[in-house]
Symmetry: C2
């Protein structure tokens, strides 16, 4: 475990790097709204890309907010709407290259949850590491 006492600011951004804005603030402007991260979980991790599938896999989320979040994520280039068929409209929401880079964020959230919320997350209540949950991350294809 890391000790905080070694330095005033444990993690200090490299002094020569001039920041205009905090990256966390900027990213949270994009990912910080309610449901956004859960929608990305479905699209990026579970490969669920259809509107009604998303409605079903996140039942508390209403279609109104879902379409708002999808359009927001599309606008900022994290997902894209692939028109499978027109009339009737069939859309598949997929992740972009940029969206692919949010997966490490999702993984760090899962790691935190698997360690500290094992009671609510796992049926056997046993905390797990991210490597236990995703063994393929150790031996990449």
């Amino acid at each position: 475990m890391l000790k905080a006492s070694n330095s005033e600011a444990e993690y200090a951004i490299y002094a020569a790097v001039k920041l205009k804005n905090c990256p966390i603030k900027v990213v949270m402007g994009v990912l910080g709204k309610k449901w956004t991260v859960l929608i990305l979980r479905e699209i990026a991790l579970h490969k669920i890309g259809r509107f009604n599938q998303l409605c079903r896999s996140i039942p508390e989320l209403t279609p109104r907010v879902l379409i708002m979040r999808l359009h927001e994520l599309e606008k900022c280039g994290i997902i894209q709407a692939v028109i499978v068929k027109d009339k009737p409209r069939f859309v598949r929401w997929t992740i972009t290259e940029k969206g692919h880079d949010v997966i490490p964020i999702l993984m760090s959230i899962i790691a935190f949850g698997a360690k500290w919320y094992a009671d609510e997350v796992f049926e056997d209540h046993r905390p797990r590491t991210i490597n236990e949950l995703y063994p393929e991350l150790n031996s990449p294809r």
Copy 2:
């Protein structure tokens, strides 16, 4: 870079692990509210722990919401109020061991922002890796 095409679900949670709830959902219930992550950035990364210091370092955040978030984070054990002095009350909000484990989440958010939002984040607009920003992460003390 990872390729998505190799498998239906690129990241599949190990089949034998029985989930009660999705860890992302559970964690977002704790960290998902507006301002929470930014407050944790200040406390965990910048070691800003005083109420009025937090007010000043996040000017758009009102005291009302700040105290709500601090109490929420305290309740779930991510931060704790260290009473520096009683009458008048002097409090230092510090991170707990559990709170320490949210730092990887913050770091993955910073990494994403430093790569994809360089324009808004850095004065020179040049994307950076997390190792460029935090060289000490490569050579831990």
